[in-house]
């Protein structure tokens, strides 16, 4: 049969680089240039390890939020979640609860916040942008109310370890967490049945539903996971700063979403790569780190980051348009 042959021809066009690969190439180029220009500070263990440490919680939340965004939804409440979790953690510790219990309660709190978002979106049917802008105010407001706006020291062996501990005495624990979360989300999104359903839902929720996929359930669980990882992010940030404060995580939603979009995830769902998100997080962090090393004022750093976002996404659009024309 002629058709079979047609199948076998396959994949010649896939030699074309995908967006994620391009991002990593950009990252490598940036890295090399920065290492040279920012010598001797930029390319040093003393700089890069803390940089990774400091982006760990952003990366972790971004990875799971990527899952939410590929399924066509969004969660703006992550920053509020981080703030509330930080406050909760510090408060519970100050009441003398054991560290492990506090961690469990904090993660459960994250789950609860995720469940609330998920309910609003899947059961009530509210647009997730609006629902989570609303809950963002709620979470952060509760954080402020609980602590009366004050920061609370959060020192406890368990909590300390989450953000500042080392595995085998050398590898910072947050980096281990970051790697673990990225491996897990990569496996989920790229290798598992679950991830397949997520992509399908993002590509066409109606067709997925009409193919027997339980769209609501999957979206709901995505929100749950997102809530929980945001709480984990809150724990890491609490540990990194040794303080629980309601301001924690303020504005992080836009940083994280920018990184995800930079990584090639499309608003509206269906397209997106966990590794792209990793690249996006790294690019924004490396840019910040380098420009700060070069004594650039914060607002100009922000300008550069904003321009990079627009430029890279323009490039995606242009590539997509060119690919369409090529057919």
């Amino acid at each position: 049969m002629a058709d079979i042959k047609a199948v076998e021809v396959s994949q010649k066009k896939n030699i074309r680089l995908n967006n994620t690969a391009v991002l990593f190439i950009i990252l490598v180029v940036m890295f090399s240039v920065f290492s040279y220009v920012g010598r001797p500070f930029f390319f040093s263990k003393l700089n890069l390890i803390p940089m990774l440490n400091n982006l760990s919680f952003i990366g972790i939340v971004a990875a799971v939020l990527t899952m939410v965004m590929v399924s066509g939804e969004i969660d703006f409440s992550i920053g509020g979640n981080i703030g509330l979790t930080a406050c909760l953690t510090a408060l519970l510790l100050s009441r003398g609860l054991p560290g492990w219990l506090v961690v469990i309660i904090a993660l459960a709190g994250g789950l609860a916040m995720g469940a609330f978002n998920g309910m609003l979106v899947t059961v009530v049917g509210v647009n997730s942008i609006l629902a989570t802008i609303g809950t963002m105010f709620i979470w952060r407001g509760i954080g402020y109310t609980l602590t009366n706006g004050e920061s609370i020291l959060a020192m406890n062996p368990v909590i300390d370890y989450i953000g500042r501990g080392f595995v085998f005495k050398v590898i910072p624990f947050p980096i281990v967490l970051l790697v673990v979360v990225f491996v897990i989300t990569y496996v989920i999104m790229n290798l598992s049945k679950w991830g397949r359903s997520i992509y399908a839902i993002g590509a066409n929720p109606l067709a997925s539903y009409l193919s027997g996929i339980n769209v609501k359930k999957i979206k709901f669980i995505n929100f749950l996971l997102c809530g929980m990882t945001a709480a984990l992010g809150g724990l890491i940030l609490t540990s990194l700063s040794a303080v629980g404060m309601p301001q924690h995580g303020q504005g992080l939603e836009l940083v994280i979403i920018s990184a995800i979009i930079l990584g090639g995830t499309m608003l509206g769902g269906g397209r997106g790569q966990i590794l792209g998100t990793l690249a996006g997080v790294l690019i924004l962090s490396v840019l910040y780190n380098f420009l700060t090393i070069m004594n650039i004022y914060y607002f100009y750093i922000q300008m550069v980051q904003g321009s990079v976002l627009i430029l890279v996404v323009s490039a995606y659009e242009i590539r997509l348009a060119m690919a369409k024309r090529r057919i």
Partner: protein
């Protein structure tokens, strides 16, 4: 004027008050202790090098022997771009030059009023391994972790305005300066005819900014309480959240506060900084309630905005923090620390109350 609150509430208020008083007293005690310590060390001549450099700094002359040459200094700014911080940063840069420092070896990062960014910046500064760090960050508790890290790396820190464990403090004693402001306002109140005529005391605060910032207005209140008693002051005190030191939110908050005290004519007021006050002033004017003779306003800082407000007759005075002179303390102290010398644990700016009468002395136009 407001009627007495129900007993329950009053009790709660009293409790809070006692707590606040305790905090204030504690602080005062610490302060006295520190002052004693400083005096002792001073007598022993331990701070001589710092004082010597500071003398040159104060005169604006190059420091002898260009002590900063070949050294590096890092400065993390609490919030780049606001007048107060611009003044501080400029003065640090000027002093660094006077000390013979290379501008390229003066590192800068902007903490953006954000603990997360502050931590990131601290780490980047750590990677640049400066000889000393001037840390200007908004949360004293977050500072403990920064202090630990720099301590481990053997890099001395000087902290600005917000305490940092184990690091010498430079800046203002928030409670003290706001107490000064309160005393000054009391003078005005007395001139006008005494406390009975005063309708309200308005404190524009930033609760989200933490305790240290709250002291910047609670001292004002305390001065009134000490003079007239809590039973007189409490019923007329209004606290409001004016936001993070930006005019916009303060303007809105003040509008609402004016509704809360619709009949108040004679009002004493302070706020966390002058940008905030400028928003409040605009609100008072817009509401048609502005009368320079009936509002007794003392602000904190006396930065460029504050000076203008004094000249414009909008405020009765400002407690000057002299941000443009912060560098005169910070750079000599940094250099002393770099050289392995010691500096006083508290370096307070000598605060002055600047009014329309004396502004031209301090800041000739």
């Amino acid at each position: 004027k407001k009627e007495a609150k129900p007993a329950e509430e009053a009790a709660k208020l009293e409790e809070e008050l006692a707590e606040k008083e305790a905090t204030a007293k504690e602080l005062q005690a610490k302060l006295e202790e520190a002052e004693a310590e400083i005096a002792a060390e001073e007598a022993a001549g331990a701070y001589d090098y710092y004082y010597m450099l500071k003398e040159y700094a104060g005169k604006g002359e190059p420091y002898p022997d260009a002590p900063a040459a070949d050294h590096t200094l890092a400065f993390t700014d609490i919030m780049g771009g606001i007048p107060f911080c611009i003044n501080v940063w400029n003065s640090v840069q000027d002093q660094w030059k006077l000390a013979g420092g290379d501008p390229d070896k003066l590192y800068y990062a902007d903490n953006q009023y954000d603990a997360t960014i502050g931590l990131k910046n601290a780490d980047i500064m750590l990677a640049k391994n400066p000889d000393a760090l001037i840390n200007f960050q908004f949360d004293s508790k977050v500072n403990s972790i920064i202090s630990t890290k720099f301590g481990a790396a053997g890099i001395p820190i000087i902290t600005v305005d917000v305490p940092c464990p184990g690091a010498p403090f430079m800046g203002c004693n928030n409670f003290k300066v706001s107490y000064m402001a309160g005393e000054r306002a009391i003078e005005e109140v007395e001139k006008m005819g005494g406390i009975d005529k005063l309708d309200a005391i308005v404190l524009i605060q930033f609760p989200a900014g933490g305790e240290v910032l709250m002291l910047r207005s609670e001292g004002f209140y305390q001065a009134f309480v000490d003079k007239y008693g809590a039973d007189v002051i409490d019923p007329i005190t209004v606290r409001a959240d004016g936001g993070a030191g930006e005019a916009e939110q303060a303007n809105k908050a003040m509008t609402d506060i004016l509704s809360k005290i619709p009949d108040a004519e004679y009002v004493a007021m302070t706020s966390i900084n002058e940008e905030t006050m400028s928003g409040c002033l605009a609100a008072i004017q817009t509401a048609g309630r502005w009368d320079p003779d009936k509002w007794f306003i003392i602000t904190m800082g006396c930065d460029d905005v504050g000076k203008q407000q004094i000249r414009d007759g909008l405020i009765d005075g400002a407690v000057a923090f002299f941000p443009e002179r912060y560098g005169e303390y910070l750079v000599p102290a940094s250099i002393a620390l770099m050289k392995g010398d010691v500096v006083p644990p508290f370096m307070y700016v000598e605060n002055e109350i600047i009014t329309k009468d004396n502004i031209d002395e301090w800041y000739p136009e």
